[in-house]
């Protein structure tokens, strides 16, 4: 059976249970006077029902066995991990460092993944940051975070 389906079903099952518990706490009400948790409660029940159905189908259907790693076989998944990690750090640093500095660092990393010469990466990052700053902050008046250096 496809392990990806099994794993995702289990995750969805947990999500469904969480929604059910939250809905009961909110108050389901009754058909004549539905409460705030009414729709989410029944959506949660159906959601759990379908996750269980998917699990059962996975066992019944003679699907070709697939491992979790199959989805990442032969791919540069390290790049994705790097960008996701860098994205998290960017989120944490955006307000303290300000838009220009934090985004410049993030862009250096992103363009750097393209395996270009260091000076091209630097120029691209500077152009991207200053160009976007001009477009959004100067022209469109979007108040971008200034950070500790006040720029």
């Amino acid at each position: 059976m496809d392990k990806r389906d099994t794993i995702s079903s289990l995750v969805w099952f947990a999500v469904g249970i969480f929604v059910l518990i939250s809905s009961i706490r909110l108050g389901i009400g009754n058909f004549g006077k539905p409460g705030p948790g009414f729709v989410s409660f029944y959506a949660g029940i159906f959601f759990i029902g379908f996750t269980v159905l998917m699990l059962i189908m996975g066992f019944i259907e003679k699907k070709e066995a697939a491992k979790l790693s199959d989805s990442w076989k032969g791919l540069y998944w390290g790049n994705v991990l790097l960008i996701v990690g860098a994205g998290m750090i960017y989120l944490l640093l955006l307000e303290p460092l300000g838009y220009l500095l934090a985004t410049f660092g993030f862009m250096l990393l992103l363009f750097g993944l393209g395996k270009m010469k260091p000076w091209i990466v630097l120029v691209c990052a500077i152009l991207a940051v200053t160009g976007s700053y001009y477009l959004f902050h100067i022209l469109l008046k979007v108040p971008l975070p200034k950070g500790i250096f006040s720029f």
């Binding site: 929604v19 939250s22 058909f31 539905p34 955006l94 393209g114 991207a128 979007v142």
Partner: protein, 499 residues
Amino acid sequence: METLHSLLYGFSVALQPNHLFFCFLGCLLGTLIGVIPGLGPVAAISILLPVTFQVDATSAIIMLAGIYYGAMYGGSTTSILVNVPGETASVVTCLDGYQMACQGRAGAALGIAAFGSFIAGTLGLIGLLLVAKPLSSLALQFGPPEYLAIILLGFTFVTYLSHGSMIKAIMMAFLGLMLSMIGLDPINSQQRMTFGVLNLFEGLGIAPIAMGLFGVSEVLLNLETVVSTQVIKTKIKNLFPSKLEWMQAKWALLRGTVIGFFMGILPGGGPILSTFICYGVEKRIAKDPSRFGKGAIEGVAAPEAANNAAASTSFIPLLTLGIPPNVILAVLFGAFLIHGILPGPFLITQHPDVFWGVISSMYIGNVMLLILNLPLIPLWVQVLKIPDKYLYPLILLFCLIGAYSIDNNVFDVGVMVAFGIVGYLFKKFGYEGAPLILAFVLGPMFEVNLRRSLLMSQGNFTIFFTRPIAVGALLVCATLIGLSLYQFFKKTAQKKAAA
């Protein structure tokens, strides 16, 4: 006569210099998005949505609509010249368009795609014009049970017509519905699943979710592969198809337009599905079906006509009923709400400038697109040669600023990044984002109409079976569910027999 008067009023709005500029900008960006493989109109509209905050609602909707139908035009260029569809509605165009280009008929293929798109888009708009007002008047008589039944129909169609596993599509729709419950209760303002987080009080925003699911996830997927785009080396000449080619394509164009027209209105239908259906129809009725896939001009004309007609008519349910029929219109629905406008039967009376201005701008946009697409094809070919290593960091940068500028809040950027990761995992695990977004947008309407219907009937479900429109919609839902169950059991029986 009244419709003509309203249309003229619409033109007086659409022809204002600022609206003309935004119409042109939308068409240009839409064509560009259509040309660039990997980035579809959903991601583009989501990313550019915050840019429109600084302009008036009419300009914003005109531009975003331009991106949508502009992408339908632009998508054919990559399908024909590179054999890579610029967006999903151009997948079918690859089959014969690329073969025509290989045979040295790239000009004719690009020409029929552009002219076909123009003709179908314009005919679709005439349909939109004729149907919109009567449907708006009819919708004024709808009560909560009717709305609930139509929303249910939308849910059923979107899951029935999903590309992959139907169970997964249904699960995504339920997940979208549950996500839409976060925030304040629409009836008694009680906090729901907010965990005391202030940013969640108004619920999750459609823009960061759509940007994450369709924009960021696409960038992440592209970062793990190395694909070089090979543009076919052929001289593009004779963009105006010959008389013979027109004769071969004319009925295909018309059939594509009709199919696209109805598929656009259908909840869950839209441009993508219409291209597959009309290609199948053309192949089935052709005297020599073996020509298809080897450079048949009908194989380019019909799908290109269909996706443009569908793009025009898919505005009908959104503008008249306030129900988005597909995921792109769901994001546009979000754009309407952000600009303080509720699409639906009252739009025509409360915001006639938006209603008629947007419809009229689509006529102008179609002319602009014809001009943009044919003479500028060499420019679009150059765009295709921009390496991904320059493109994807810029897309990600746009997403980041776009998400931030919604409320000038890092929280929205976090939501976008989180849904980017979720969208990436969805694609790895075989889930689709479209049912989730559609259910997320329709969720609050679904909840309010269900609860109001039950309050009206004091918990009696027969209220849904005593009103003709509600009964009709529910019957279609039941038929579709029955059909999919029949297909499932038939497939299982065939598998057992084969084993």
